[in-house]
Amino acid sequence: MTNPQQALSTQNLVAGYERDLPIVRGVDFLVATGELIVILGPNGAGKSTFVKAIAGLVPVHSGTALLGSADITHVPAHEKIRHGLAFVPQTENIFATLTIEDNLRLAADILPRERQARRIAELYTTFPDLAARPSLRAGQLSGGQRQMLAVARALIVEPSVLILDEPSAGLSPKIVAEVFSRLKAINKTGVTIVLVEQNVKAALAIADRAVILVEGRVRHEGPAATLADDPVVAELYLGARHDRRAVS
């Protein structure tokens, strides 16, 4: 039975590139509508594989994934965006040889023709940096601008859930703060956000709730503020002492 307030959930999800070697080993996960949730865990915990499985990029061997009340477990990746699920991969998340405008138009192509131009204009208003040079090749953008373009592209279709895989990877602390502040602002407009992060401090600062994955299973979850103050959790599940200092 599904909760009308749930935006995204998985039940006993098992996923991995090879059937006999699952990386995600039975994850139960639930995100309420409008929530910003962060998935944390040490390297190799299966965080990225989990969100890629939801996005349709990694085979799901058993279990279910629901978007609202719709079963999207085996919906092909290209169909999920039409259901309202947008995904921003960690790397290579823009088309570097295409212009900024073409990156956005590519995402807008699935919208009705009369909405396409309006949505692109709205995204340019939200991300003025992109509006300044629409004919620039996306490969010429800085790291932070690339993330903004990837997020803008994902938002074109007005998704109900936005999943981002380590949006802070490779960015300077200043740019990370800017990207996360934008994500929080997007979340406040009603978009449910699922964030996979290694940058524990920055992620917990904007998240409502956090889930910790270890070896493909959920080991801990709770409000982000509580988790940030829990030195045991940091020591056990978030890796190095550096991380513990980061969350404390």
Binding site: A55, G56, L57, P76, A77, H78, E79, I81, R82, F87, P89, E92, N93, I94, F95, A96, T97, L98, D102, R105, L106, A107, D109, I110, R153, V157
Partner: protein, 303 residues
Amino acid sequence: MNPQALMDGLITGSMIGLGAVGVTLTYSILRFANFAHGEFISWGAYFAFAVAGALGAVSGAMLAPIGPFSFGWALPIGLLAALALTGGLALVVDALLFGRLRRQRSTVIIMVMASFGAALTLRSLLEFIFTSKPAYYTKALQIALPLGGGIRATPDQLLSLGLAAVLVVAIHLLLTRTAIGRSMRAVSENPQLAGVVGIEVRKVIRVVWVLGAGLAAVAGVIAGLLVQVRPQMGLDLLLPLFAAAILGGIGSVPGAMLAGVIVGLSEALAVQLIGAEWRAAIAFIILVLVLLIRPQGIFGRPE
């Protein structure tokens, strides 16, 4: 040097260019060198030959020459049918062979070897059905018109050049100005991300097969009209096609066409300057030189 070599080179280059555009599109999307592409040229030529022949058998009026050209309405209709049939043939080959290998995540070398096998099979099938005896769309003789500067060309040759130019511009506009063109460029760069954005990659692959095979069919009909129709005609053009696709820069439609003309002109000049027996070697020399000096080609970007 006889200036007529320029016209001969342009005509050969237009055929090579059309084939090379198909090679460059399939290579950039499917990421393997399809050595069966030459067979789409031959099959396209024979599809048009069969349809035009059938129309001519039904109504002799269909074979009556149109204006200054050597062929009747049967051939343009046969060409349109060949576009669809060759596109269909490419989809069948993909469904039976390449699509299965893609799903098995086969390596590039497996795909290339499979394309060799497909080429042999398609060619043998063509020889079995039509025999290896050359065939002709028309037996009518045409007088070449003087164009000035010592250059002459027949109306059929001028029409072929015009058709090739129009098609290349149309494909370039399709790639740069339409949604399906954007999708093709996106899949070419990153198929997984293209899927995430909402592009059905399999649909794009089908479009690329039909487009590439359709262009090959046009090249085949032009070659058949200006020279003759033979089961080996695609094989003979294969090396020049790849030389042009690589010289132009993989993925570049204008590059492939320009490079096709360069290869065609080089072949024509070689015939004039050093002898016809060196014609086939020219494409190979160009290919090796490009790979050594500028592997990304004229319009390509370094990796």
